[in-house]
C-alpha cells in the first residue's frame, strides 16, 4: 500500500492541476478523489470487497492513510486549535472516516451538524 501512495504522489505531482482530495470524474460517470486515481485502475476492488454496493469499512482508508489520530491535517485551516476533527472531544477514535469524508461525492462533516460555521463541505 505504501507503494501505491508513492505512485499516487508521483502522478499527482505530474498532473499538478488539482489538489489532493479534489473530486474529479473518474470514468463512466463515477466521481472519485484525484489522489485515488491509481486505485481505480484495478476497478472497484481497490476499496470495495466483492460488490461495489457492499459495505466498505474504514480499513479501505486506514491501510494507506493510517488511523485518525495519526493523520496530520493542516491545522492552520482550523477555526481554532480545539476544533481538530482528527482529535475530536466528542468522538476521537470512535469516528469512522466516512462520518466526514466521502469518496464519490462531497460530504459535510458530522461536526457541522452542530458547529455550522466551522467546517466546509469536502
Amino acid at each position: 500500500m505504501k507503494k501505491i501512495i508513492f505512485i499516487i504522489s508521483v502522478v499527482f505531482i505530474m498532473v499538478g492541476y488539482a489538489n489532493a482530495g479534489d473530486l474529479v470524474d473518474i470514468k463512466n460517470g463515477i466521481k472519485g478523489r484525484v489522489n485515488h486515481e491509481a486505485l481505480y485502475e484495478s476497478g472497484c476492488n481497490g476499496c470495495h470487497v466483492g460488490s461495489a454496493r457492499e459495505y466498505v469499512d474504514d480499513s479501505a482508508c486506514k491501510d494507506c492513510h493510517g488511523s485518525i489520530n495519526d493523520i496530520e491535517i493542516d491545522v492552520s485551516q482550523l477555526k481554532m486549535s480545539s476544533a481538530n476533527p482528527h482529535e475530536s472531544v466528542h468522538y476521537n477514535q470512535g469516528a469512522s472516516c466516512i462520518a466526514c469524508h466521502a469518496e464519490h461525492q462531497t460530504k459535510k462533516p458530522v461536526c457541522s451538524e452542530c458547529h455550522r460555521t466551522w467546517f466546509e463541505e469536502m
Binding site: E54, Y55, V56, S88, V89, H90, Y91, N92, Q93, G94, A95, S96, I98, A99, V110, S112, E113, C114, H115, R116, T117, W118
Partner: protein
C-alpha cells in the same frame, strides 16, 4: 421479523384447529430451528452512549463476551455531544469543598420532587448508589473532569454536579470506547437493528442492517445475529422522531428543533413495543425554552441566555414588545416564545438582547458571536433593521423597560428585578425558539433492567434496557446531570442481571 411473528401465530392457530393445543410447541420449535443465523455472539448491546459503553465495559470485565452495535458513523450516540454534567454524591471534589452531608438518598429526594409523583424511587436509589463506582470507572479509564469543579445545578439541593474538562459527554464516551477496544469489546458502526427474532417473549437475536448509512434506509444489507446471552437496548431516546413525538405530545410542533444527535429516532423502542415490551410515560418529553434556531444541537444558546434572561429582555420581532417574564420557568417561557408567529404561522423567533459592554471578554458571548448564533448591534436602529422589528415600538419598549429598572418593578410581567439593568447600546442579540431535549418515557423495566412484557406484566426473557430508552424512572422531569449518572450506573447493574439469568 413481523413475518416470523405472524407466521408463528398463524401456524399455532392452524395447529390448534387441527389437533388441539398440544401441537403448538412442536410447530414452534420447527420454525425456530429453521432460522438461519449469519453470526452468533454472546451479549449484544444496541447503542454506544453512556449506557451502552458502561454495560459493555462492565459486562466484558465480568467475563461476558460483548458486541456493541451502533447505527451511526460515530461512537457515542447523544452522550458524545451532551453537556458533560455528572451528578455524583460524595465525589472527592465535593468532599474537599467541605460538603459532607450529601448521599445517594439526598439526590433521590431531589429527583422525586422533580418527578412530581411519577418517579421510581427504588430505581433512582439503585442508580444513585452506583454513582461513585461509575465515577471511579471514568477516572480509571483516563476521563478528565474540570479541576476543583463541583457545583449546584437546577433542582439539586446540594453542589454535587461535576463536569467534564472537554465540556461534553464525549470526554467519557471516547475514553470508555478506547478502554473497551483495549479490553476486547467488539464495536461495530453502521449496524442498524431492524427487528428482533423472538421465541415467545424470549429474544433470540436481531436482524441488522449492516453497512447502514444514516438516514438512507435502503443502504447496507440485512444479516441475522444470534445473541446467546441476550440483548441490551441502550439505544437512547426518540426526541428526533418528529412523527412519534408529535403523536405522544401534540404541543411539540414541527417548528421545534432538537438538541439531540440526528440518530435519536427511537426505532429500537418501537421494535421492542412491537414484540410486546411495555412503554410508559411516552408523552413526558423535556423541552428547553433556551434553544436557538441559529445553531445545531444544544449549542451555546443556553449559556448565552443565562446572561440574557437576567440582564436583557425578550422581544417579539413582529410587534417590538416584550413577551414574558424572562426569568419565569421553562413552561411559561416556552408558551410565550412559541406564541410569536408570522401571519402564515411560521416562527417569528423572539430576540433576546443585553448590553455588550457589560460582558466584554465573557466566553459565553465571544463564542456565540464567533459562531454566528449571536450578533453585536451598535444601536436599536441597527437591531430593528437587521431583524425587521418596528423601530418606534422597540424604542418605547426599551424606554419603558429602563424606567421599570429604576422603579425596580415590572408592571407588564411582574418579573423579579434584582438582576435587571438599564439597556443601552451596543447590544448582543440572539434569537430563541424551544428545542426538544430528553425523553423521560420509554420501555418499562424491572429494577434489574429486564424489559417488562405488556401482556403478562412480567419480565421478558433475555431482553434488557437501560438509559434514555427506558421510561418511568425520572417521572415528569429528569434533573440536569442525571442522564449521565443513569447510563453509567446501569452498566454496573445489567451485567449482574445477565449473570443471574444465565
Amino acid at each position: 421479523m413481523n413475518d416470523r411473528r405472524s407466521f408463528l401465530k398463524k401456524s399455532a392457530g392452524l395447529a390448534a384447529v387441527a389437533t388441539g393445543m398440544a401441537t403448538i410447541l412442536p410447530a414452534h420449535a420447527n420454525t425456530l430451528s429453521s432460522t438461519k443465523w449469519d453470526e452468533e455472539v454472546d451479549l449484544l448491546i444496541i447503542g454506544s452512549g453512556f449506557t451502552g459503553q458502561s454495560v459493555a465495559v462492565n459486562a466484558n470485565r465480568a467475563g461476558i463476551k460483548v458486541t456493541v452495535l451502533e447505527k451511526m458513523q460515530v461512537i457515542g450516540g447523544n452522550s458524545a455531544i451532551n453537556g458533560g454534567w455528572f451528578a455524583v454524591p460524595r465525589n472527592p471534589i465535593q468532599l474537599a469543598q467541605g460538603i459532607t452531608d450529601d448521599s445517594p438518598a439526598e439526590l433521590v429526594k431531589d429527583q422525586m420532587i422533580a418527578a412530581r409523583g411519577m418517579g421510581n424511587e427504588a430505581m433512582l436509589t439503585r442508580i444513585a448508589e452506583k454513582a461513585l463506582p461509575a465515577y471511579n470507572m471514568c477516572i480509571e479509564a483516563g476521563v478528565k473532569f474540570k479541576k476543583d469543579f463541583n457545583i449546584q445545578v437546577g433542582g439539586h439541593n446540594k453542589a454535587r454536579a461535576i463536569r467534564l474538562e472537554a465540556g461534553t459527554g464525549g470526554g467519557i464516551t471516547t475514553k470508555l470506547y478506547e478502554a473497551g477496544v483495549r479490553e476486547g469489546v467488539d464495536y461495530r458502526l453502521q449496524h442498524k437493528v431492524e427487528d428482533f427474532i423472538m421465541d415467545g417473549d424470549e429474544i433470540l437475536g436481531v436482524v441488522v442492517r449492516k453497512g447502514y448509512r444514516f438516514p438512507n434506509e435502503d443502504t447496507g444489507h440485512l444479516v441475522r445475529i444470534r445473541a446467546r446471552k441476550g440483548v441490551v437496548l441502550a439505544s437512547g431516546g426518540f426526541a428526533r422522531n418528529m412523527k412519534l413525538r408529535f403523536i405522544v405530545d401534540p404541543s411539540l410542533d414541527p417548528t421545534l428543533d432538537c438538541t439531540n444527535q440526528l440518530g435519536a429516532t427511537g426505532e429500537a423502542t418501537l421494535t421492542a413495543m412491537n414484540h410486546g415490551a411495555l412503554p410508559v410515560h411516552m408523552n413526558m418529553i423535556q423541552t428547553g425554552h433556551w434553544g436557538s434556531p441559529d445553531e445545531g444541537g444544544f449549542g451555546w444558546s443556553n449559556a448565552l441566555l443565562s446572561i440574557g434572561w437576567h440582564k436583557g429582555i425578550a422581544v417579539n420581532p413582529t410587534t417590538g414588545k416584550r413577551i414574558m417574564d424572562e426569568r419565569a420557568d421553562r413552561l411559561t417561557c416556552s408558551a410565550a416564545i412559541m406564541a410569536c408567529r408570522h401571519k402564515d404561522g411560521s416562527p417569528a423567533y423572539p430576540l433576546v438582547f443585553f448590553n455588550k459592554n457589560d460582558h466584554l471578554g465573557d466566553d459565553r458571548v465571544t463564542r456565540a458571536v464567533r459562531d454566528e448564533m449571536a450578533w453585536e448591534m451598535e444601536s436599536l436602529e441597527q437591531l430593528a433593521d437587521k431583524f425587521n422589528v418596528p423601530l418606534k415600538q422597540l424604542r418605547s419598549t426599551v424606554e419603558e423597560w429602563n424606567q421599570y429598572v429604576i422603579n425596580q418593578k415590572d408592571p407588564d410581567f411582574n418579573r423579579k428585578m434584582d438582576s435587571a439593568v438599564k439597556l443601552e447600546g451596543p447590544f448582543v442579540v440572539s434569537r430563541v425558539w424551544p428545542k426538544v431535549h430528553y425523553c423521560m418515557g420509554g420501555l418499562k423495566t424491572d429494577l434489574d433492567g429486564r424489559v417488562i412484557n405488556s401482556s403478562t406484566l412480567a419480565p421478558m426473557k433475555k431482553l434488557y434496557a437501560a438509559g434514555e430508552v427506558t421510561g418511568g424512572v425520572h417521572g415528569h422531569a429528569r434533573l440536569s446531570s442525571c442522564a449521565c449518572l443513569e447510563g453509567l450506573a446501569m452498566g454496573f447493574i445489567i451485567p449482574n442481571t445477565i449473570k443471574a439469568d444465565a
